[in-house]
Symmetry: C2
Subunit: 346 residues, 2 copies
DNA sequence: TTGTACGCGTTATCAA
DNA sequence: TTGATAACGCGTACAA
């Protein structure tokens, strides 16, 4: 026995230690710790005292190994530094917390291979379920895990090549509504600046845009592939430099919205007098910009929350076995960049 | 060999299954899986084949239980939906990944009690180390874990009542530099709008602000307690409504910066002609605002990265035993809201 | 080169 | 009401 009272590194107190100290069997300690009924009140109190004094904490790893469930879920997200994703993640973390589960965070950087690696790692860690924002491509790695019985819920977009639960937002309807709003302002040449074409969200928003134009007998003018603010700026510039300059722009995500903003300024045009502008995907500063930014808002927190809840429905055995698909409404937040009258300062 | 190739739900393949199928002992399979040398090449190949065919994946939980290290670290962050924190988290996740560790994400919502609960949960899960953005208050719960040998690194601010490694940014120097910049523009009445006074970062920035004013023989005019955009707006309004209106404002964080922006507009003042403005804490839209926003930028990703690296230094036994403290430089990004000449559009 | 036996810390079974 | 003992899946020590 050393003179040191503070336990050295790595010396964790186990059930055995408590049992020894309290003069009972480890099972009795286990019972007390887990609040099982069949324990003499007196011994329970005594054991609880020792537990407290020694600072015993159950080893969750051992519990998991024994119990076949890790009380852990995995989240593979495409980019946590994206505020939209961060809000999703925050909501997910909250739901996991409520259900007594830990959340392992993985950032795939929207790379399919990285995503696959992460999914593998997570299953090795015996996660009880998986939430993911799938990278573009064929998410085959999910098949294997699903067939092994791992519940999977995707959010923001569906996984390809796999049948999984999913929670989406109304990309098509949202884009359509925004475009219709521009049409109602009298615009006839409305351009679309969007991200990479083979992204699910880009495609859907493009569809909505086209639908609206078609219904009004107008000609679509899409420009795709803008995967950064810079590319968005270039795309917007070339669109606005065309001979028959569009009088309105629909920027299908935040990157292109900001890029468009820069392009418009660079060209010396005014919003909304020369070019009306509507974006997709919320950002905190939208109401601070001048003119105030009109956009299609996505319910980020709710997206995360509902996806997590859907996962726990599975984990807790609720709901039908067939894949579920939930689509959340977007909201057109009308401010000024679309050409609507300036609100009085609040 | 059964006829069913696809394992049913929950039926995880174990070393035993592989061993049985390959006609070898468990240990031999283990050797093959872990790439240990002492294995006959032929059997190694055969076993590897079975591993592949059965889709065996080592149970990381069992490994951890045996090996006394979970290859998992915990991150307790105050608010993941804050872009600054999200960038930290992203960098941390990357470093964890590089070191083969999983990252458990916990959002304390800046609540001390929640933080304590999370720290407890994480140790129960046998995390190898802890990263946290401590909530305000006495972070006593850390003492216990630290004494049990758990490495802890805090970021953005120090923990109170505990000696732990930490990575900070130069709050004082950054604020001082910003204030000096305003002074150099000729301002003599420079107000400070900041978050809650007992926040470490608020205090340090306030100190820097005061230092700069004192050196110039000017009188400080701080307004504290602005813990939301709305409160920031009110604070800025009351400051700017005072009889001797300040000609410049230093907004000590992003919330107050946005609040100030609103207040200034509401009062019908112009930036920087009527009020010059400098903020603290970067945001993506700063260059998009008009006028372009001058601010003190914090190296969020580096903060996260360095903190994580510091943790792994400990985990891998590098470095001295005494607590380390790393302070990263901030950068004054001069744009227009401070009164500097308008840059030509790029 | 391969296999046996044990232990990691828990919970579950069954007997006392 | 309690306790010995066997799992959980893996790695380590030692034998064969």
């Amino acid at each position: 026995m050393t003179g040191v009272l503070i336990p050295g590194p790595g010396k964790r107190v186990t059930l055995r230690d408590v049992a020894l100290e309290a003069g009972v069997s480890i099972k009795t300690v286990s019972r007390v710790v887990n609040g099982e009924p069949a324990v003499n009140a007196a011994t329970a109190v005594r054991v609880a005292g020792v537990v407290e004094r020694l600072g015993y904490r159950p080893n969750e790893l051992a519990r998991s190994l024994k119990g076949q469930r890790s009380r852990t879920i995995g989240l593979v997200i495409s980019d946590i530094s994206n505020p939209f994703m961060a809000s999703c993640a925050q909501a997910i973390e909250g739901v996991a917390q409520e259900h007594g589960h830990a959340l392992i965070l993985c950032d795939s950087h929207a790379d399919l291979r990285t995503e696959g690696d992460y999914v593998g790692l997570l299953t090795q860690r015996q996660v009880d379920g998986l939430l993911l924002v799938p990278a573009h491509g064929h998410n085959v790695h999910l098949n294997r895990e699903q067939q092994a019985g791992l519940p999977v819920v995707t959010l923001d977009r569906p996984a390809e090549g796999v049948q999984a639960d999913m929670v989406l937002v109304q990309n098509r309807a949202g884009a359509r509504e925004a475009t219709e709003h521009l049409i109602r302002h009298g615009h006839e040449r409305i351009a679309f600046v969007g991200d990479v074409r083979n992204f699910y969200t880009t495609r859907k928003r493009l569809e909505g845009y086209k639908e609206a134009l078609k219904a009004a007998n107008l000609k679509p003018a899409p420009s795709l592939g803008a995967h950064s603010i810079e590319l968005g700026e270039e795309a917007a510039k070339s669109v606005l430099d065309a001979p028959d300059r569009p009088t309105a722009l629909f920027a299908a995500n935040i990157l292109t919205a900001l890029g468009a903003l820069r392009a418009i300024e660079h060209l010396g045009l005014r919003i909304p007098e020369d070019v009306a502008l509507i974006g997709f995907d919320d950002f905190e500063l939208a109401p601070v910009l001048r003119p105030r930014f009109t956009l299609v808002r996505q319910p980020a927190a709710e997206l995360g929350r509902r996806a997590a809840e859907m996962l726990f429905d599975r984990l807790e055995g609720r709901g039908r076995p067939e894949p579920r698909r939930l689509v959340l409404p977007t909201e057109l937040v009308v401010r000024e960049s679309c050409g609507c009258p300036v609100e009085p300062a609040p």
